[in-house]
Amino acid sequence: MIERLGLVTTQLPTATSSAMVLLAVVMPVLLGVLGGAWRPLRGWPGLALALIPLLALLWLVQQIAVHGTQAWVLELGSLTLHWRANGLTLLLLLLTQWLVLASAVYTPAYLRVAEQALGRGAVWLWPLMGLLATSLSLIWMAADLLTLYIGLELMGLTAVGLILLPGREEALAAGMRYLLLALIGSLAFLLGVALLLGSWERLDLAGLAVVVEPSPVLWVAMALLSAGLLLKAAAFPLHAWLVPVHGSAWTPVSALHAALVIKASFFIALQLWLVLAPQAAAAAWLVGGMGAAAVVWGGLLAWRADKLKDVVAWSTVSQLGYLLIGFPLLIGTSTAVASIAWAGVWLQLLAHSLAKAAMFLAVGNLMLATGESRVSGLAGASRRFPLSLLSFGIAAISLVGLPPSAGFTAKWLLLHASLAAGQWPWLVVLAVGTLLSAAYVFRVFRYSFVEDVEREDYRPVPLRMDLVALALALASLILGLTATWPLALLAIAGGTP
């Protein structure tokens, strides 16, 4: 599995590709600082500038597709840091840039409409957003535990800062709770890393994969690392902080948080399991069971939720369960099963990120336009805000897993993998999850097609906000139609394409 993660490579990077990677990692922070200094009232200058790292990444994708995985070893005195770029990392980097770009275009208009009295919060928004993109890029590229730790901490603190920006009491209370949990989660992670460093004296993942051997230290370290990361990823019994956080944050921040921040913790957890405990099938079943419970419980609560944003937030808990089911399918299974599940898990991550961001933005538009935060307040929306509802619908197609969306392809692959592995419980979970997600999506539609309301106080949102939501929703659909491209990138292993 470590070949698939791009950790085994002899390919030395060229100077150009190093420059491109640096551009993609550093540029968002610089743009963020610029944005903080000038506070753009429109999205397009940011859009133009932010296209540069996106283009750099596309060039890198081309490079990797031809020459294979590249790895960087950075020597800082007696410290060595390891970075790598393979098909998976590049897909995640592209996803990050694309989503941050979309929210950056969405945000100025959103702030103008939603926040009449702009507090000091807006000054901090842009630098924090840039920092978030950079820390995520670090996490995707990191091939050693020190870089991962730095990226994780940077991301956690930035995320807390972004959540706090509205400055209202419920945002502050949710942010405080999130801060304390995130800090405890990082301590658990650090303790796990300390045990690994104490026993094997190294932090690079490729080296650790070779030297670790099953022992009590490894099990305790893995338990601590997983507990910390799953807490930050809002995995099932540890998910209670997520809904208030998403409910009180600004809509583009909720979108980024649901689409990227919790995925980063999941990514690190899965990577560490594949590297350090690739045969721990029993423990992986435990995580899979948590995922199954998350699918059902999150789906039920999304169905029962009163507020629109809570529906979307509970749906995140539920959809994250599908990713956790990837653990028992990838760990301790045969190569054939693992290679199907590998494609399924990452495609599900990409599809969910795009669809969830689109859904958050669409829901944010609907909430602003109707001035209602409850699902029942949507009555009459179908005739007045067809575009927002269309984005919501397209995103829902992917979340429910209907063809031809990427969500469908991903669930199909997971289904196929569990059949091939003979792990039938996951089939039931996938079926129940699909029904539940259809139930909560159609509940939203049912209310928006209610026609007999006499209300005049609608505030249509600017067209740009609708278009951004639509663009993200369409991306999740197009990803399904052109799934061969990401799947081919994901299949690139080791040094050779």
Binding site: L79, G161, L164, L172, L179, L180, S186, L197, V220, A223
Partner: protein, 223 residues
């Protein structure tokens, strides 16, 4: 170095941490925490990590302390009216039963950790520091679960973090020292930033709560 100093340096942080976490008076608790951080800095110095000692003094003691006092409404800048001070009276009184119930998961974790550590080679230079690190982790986590007051939980988080740093540096051998120091420095900076955010939040939440109260009283008088 006589062993007495070793033992004293290892046990003093534990006692100071326990007093800081259980003292009912929050200002005294924060002062004790600053003292705790200074003693830990001495520990770093004695273990031979000069940089960590300096950073611990600067970040752990001085800057963290400043923000903890800021959260309590004590500071050089007295522009804002001082926040209503609750002297650590937690909403739930501490009873033996609650204390013991919250101790169970912490003991389970410590047992797990001790089992893992037992299979590692014993630290030849600093066995006492390793044990005090372990106890600090347990103490911090216990109080973190037990107490509801936000400032107390920040203190508990900081003490758990310090325990983990001590444990980490006594675990690494020659080959891993640089990586270990990098991890601890990152951890110290993160703990400080987390405390700053937490302290500012506590201050803000306290101000909002007093605001609510005064509006409620005004409404009551008006009606």
């Amino acid at each position: 170095m006589p062993p007495l100093v070793d033992v004293l340096l290892a046990t003093l942080p534990v006692f100071l941490a326990a007093f800081a976490l259980l003292d009912r008076h929050l200002v005294r608790a924060c002062s004790l925490f600053v003292l705790f951080a200074l003693v830990v800095a001495l520990n770093w110095w004695q273990l031979g990590f000069i940089w960590l000692a300096l950073l611990e003094t600067l970040l752990g003691a001085a800057l963290t302390g400043a923000f903890l006092f800021h959260a309590l409404g004590i500071g050089p800048a007295r522009r804002a009216p001082p926040v209503r001070r609750s002297h650590g009276q937690d909403p739930l009184p501490l009873t033996w039963r609650r204390g013991l119930v919250h101790l169970m998961p912490v003991l389970a974790l410590l047992g797990m950790l001790a089992a893992a550590l037992a299979s590692l080679p014993a630290s030849d230079t600093s066995p006492a520091a390793r044990w005090s690190g372990l106890v600090l982790v347990g103490l911090g986590l216990w109080v973190f679960n037990l107490k509801a007051h936000l400032l107390r939980r920040l203190l508990a988080f900081n003490i758990t973090g310090t325990g983990i740093f001590l444990l980490l540096m006594t675990l690494v051998g020659e080959a891993g020292t640089a990586a270990g120091q990098a991890l601890v420095i990152t951890g110290l900076v993160v703990a400080w930033l987390g405390t700053v955010l937490g302290a500012l939040l506590i201050r803000r939440l306290g101000a909002l709560a007093t605001h609510h109260e005064s509006t409620l009283i005004n409404d009551g008088q008006a009606s």
